[in-house]
Symmetry: C2
Subunit: 169 residues, 2 copies
Amino acid sequence: MTPLNHALLGLIRAHPRSGYALLKVFETTPMGSYSSSPGSIYPALRSLEKAGLVDVRDPRDARGKGLYHITAAGRAALEQWMSAPIVDLDEALLRFAFLPEDDGPAIRAFLDAFEAAADAQASGLAAFLASDAATGMTAKSRIAVEHGRCRLTASAGWARAAKRHFSDE
Amino acid sequence: MTPLNHALLGLIRAHPRSGYALLKVFETTPMGSYSSSPGSIYPALRSLEKAGLVDVRDPRDARGKGLYHITAAGRAALEQWMSAPIVDLDEALLRFAFLPEDDGPAIRAFLDAFEAAADAQASGLAAFLASDAATGMTAKSRIAVEHGRCRLTASAGWARAAKRHFSDE
DNA sequence: CCAACCATGTAAGCTGTTACATGATTGA
DNA sequence: TCAATCATGTAACAGCTTACATGGTTGG
């Protein structure tokens, strides 16, 4: 399962959609970073279908293919992916977007884990910068690594702000 | 030319290295995000060699392959890549690390461009969030986009801080 | 002498990119 | 009627990942 597959599965679970409608999501929103063109989306939908995670139903009319629906197996696969430990923050962010809208505790737990992961990664870079390996590098290389640390700190800060947002509702 | 190719070329320009030494750079520094294993690095070195951007010389002894040196064509290719407009910030960061150590004006110009690109991308996300498309999305999706904006703002902030660092030297 | 590391590769498989191709429908 | 958009694909190609394979050398 690639990130694109997960993105498609999550969108389809939110509500059934045609391949074209899914294509448009990637073309018109920042989700576009997960794909680019029909050449990746249609084959990915095929693979989801072949894996039994989605099925196609409700052809609107003679020409259209119909709407992709998520199957029970698809739900299970998505659930498993959603509950895996956070390693990659970008992937985690995709999972965040697919979290159930109303489950406050789950959202807060996820944000806690996200913040912890971002902090841990930031600490990892800080440790690297303090190590022998870093002192041998050029000044610019170290500052480039600093950039990574800044971004991770920003990610952790975002998680804290988001938690505040979801605590008073 | 893939990011990995550029990373290799930049490292080799800094000073000649063996394939194994390059491998170790990716294994032991945050540059690892550009690669992972011999399975990508050795073929990439081959392609650089075939393209005439590097050549192999100075075999240390009978068994070793020797050291990769950058060629005139390699220098030219790197130069062209370095002076292209900034589109992708991660790629730009790699370029930053390869900027000549002593050329203050070039560094400052680059950081100006980097900051402008980060600000522009952040504005793009802000515009999206203010658009009709965003109002139709779920709250969590909007907050996920916010994360992207936070990170871009952090990137711009990093560039400003780096400029201060390079102005008093 | 044996494990760890130096040093270099190959091969299968999967994914994504780019570009091309097709045909129906809708609005001006 | 003609362009744009809806809607769905195919095919070539390049690249990365994973896993496997091969030998030499060094330190304990």
